[in-house]
């Protein structure tokens, strides 16, 4: 499997360098609540989570999307990222380690410019897929 270190090496089928996060601790979620402006108590307050049918608080979906955003902007400067889309498939429990991966699905031409269409994914250590997504990155 070919690794494309940056967008300059983009080729169909190539993989982006993996990004693996440290475990998500309660502190991570507190910082993310403040830093992202999402103060939903389901991510911070165990009692509130329990009252809504969850064993414990769990991570914001947008935290995992931000991790994927790091994967993308390590690979290409942020102004080149035209589209970035995710679906939130399953919940990310506390202490999860999140593995962010991406593959160049195809290189397309649009308005005379070459773009890389990426398939993106976040996966937990036990293999659970938490997010799937796509990116569209301008190469020229």
């Amino acid at each position: 499997m070919t690794i494309a270190a940056t967008y300059r090496e983009a080729a169909s089928g190539a993989e982006l360098p993996l990004l693996v996060t440290p475990p998500i601790e309660p502190l991570t979620l507190a910082l993310f609540a403040g830093g992202s402006g999402d103060h939903n108590p389901i991510h911070l307050d165990r009692q509130f989570a329990a009252a809504n049918g969850f064993d414990d608080v769990f991570a914001h979906g947008m935290l995992s999307m931000a991790y994927l955003g790091r994967l993308l902007s390590n690979w290409a400067p942020p102004e080149r990222i035209r589209e970035f889309t995710t679906r939130f498939i399953s919940i990310t429990p506390l202490r999860s380690v999140v593995m962010c991966s991406g593959t160049v699905a195809e290189i397309v031409t649009e308005g005379g410019l070459r773009l890389a269409r990426l398939k993106l994914k976040t996966t937990l250590s036990d293999g659970t897929v938490t997010l799937t997504g796509e990116g569209l990155v301008q190469l020229d």
Binding site: T21, P22, T28, L31, F32, G34, G35, S36, G37, D38, N40, P41, I42, F48, A51, N52, G53, H60, G61, M62, L63, M65, A66, Y67, G69, R70, L72, S73, N74, P77, P78, E79, I81, R82, E83, F84, T85, T86, R87, F88
Partner: protein, 147 residues
């Protein structure tokens, strides 16, 4: 059941200044260490007019400048504890930089249900426009309600 008559409802336009300190907190929270997001000189050296913002930051600006009445919780009357984030997309037209003043407006574009109403979906679209009246980003959010 959510009132489908609320499709088309929109928030007032809110405005927020993009601040380096808030961006640094976000970067700390998500483990982003790229100096272009934290250091003006590094951003300038990389060819930017100011510090650029990372890929999902437009949604952070929307959170930091909440509408007077939230569309899902306030207008539709959904219960926050039953709400999950289903999908999120960003279309970038122009970069957003530290120092920009970004105006945001959100609209309900669809409401539908599945499994006989056990799951309801609200599709929201948010636009982010800068101080020069340039559209910077369009965001699409799908909120899921577990009934």
């Amino acid at each position: 059941m959510l009132d489908k008559g609320k499709i088309g409802a929109e928030t007032e336009e809110r405005e927020i200044a993009v601040e380096a300190g808030m961006l640094a907190l976000f970067c700390q929270a998500v483990g982003e260490t790229n100096p272009i997001y934290r250091d003006q000189n590094a951003a300038r050296d990389a060819g930017y007019r100011a510090i650029p913002t990372p890929p999902t930051y437009a949604s952070v600006l929307a959170n930091l400048a909440p509408a007077k009445i939230d569309l899902v919780i306030g207008v539709l009357g959904a219960d926050l504890g039953r709400m999950l984030h289903g999908e999120q997309s960003f279309t970038q037209v122009k970069p957003i930089y530290v120092g920009d003043r970004i105006r945001l407006r959100q609209r309900i574009i669809d409401i539908y249900d599945k499994k006989g109403g056990a799951l309801e979906f609200v599709v929201l679209e948010t636009s982010a426009t800068n101080q020069d009246d340039e559209l910077c980003a369009t965001m699409r959010t799908v909120a899921v309600l577990r009934n």
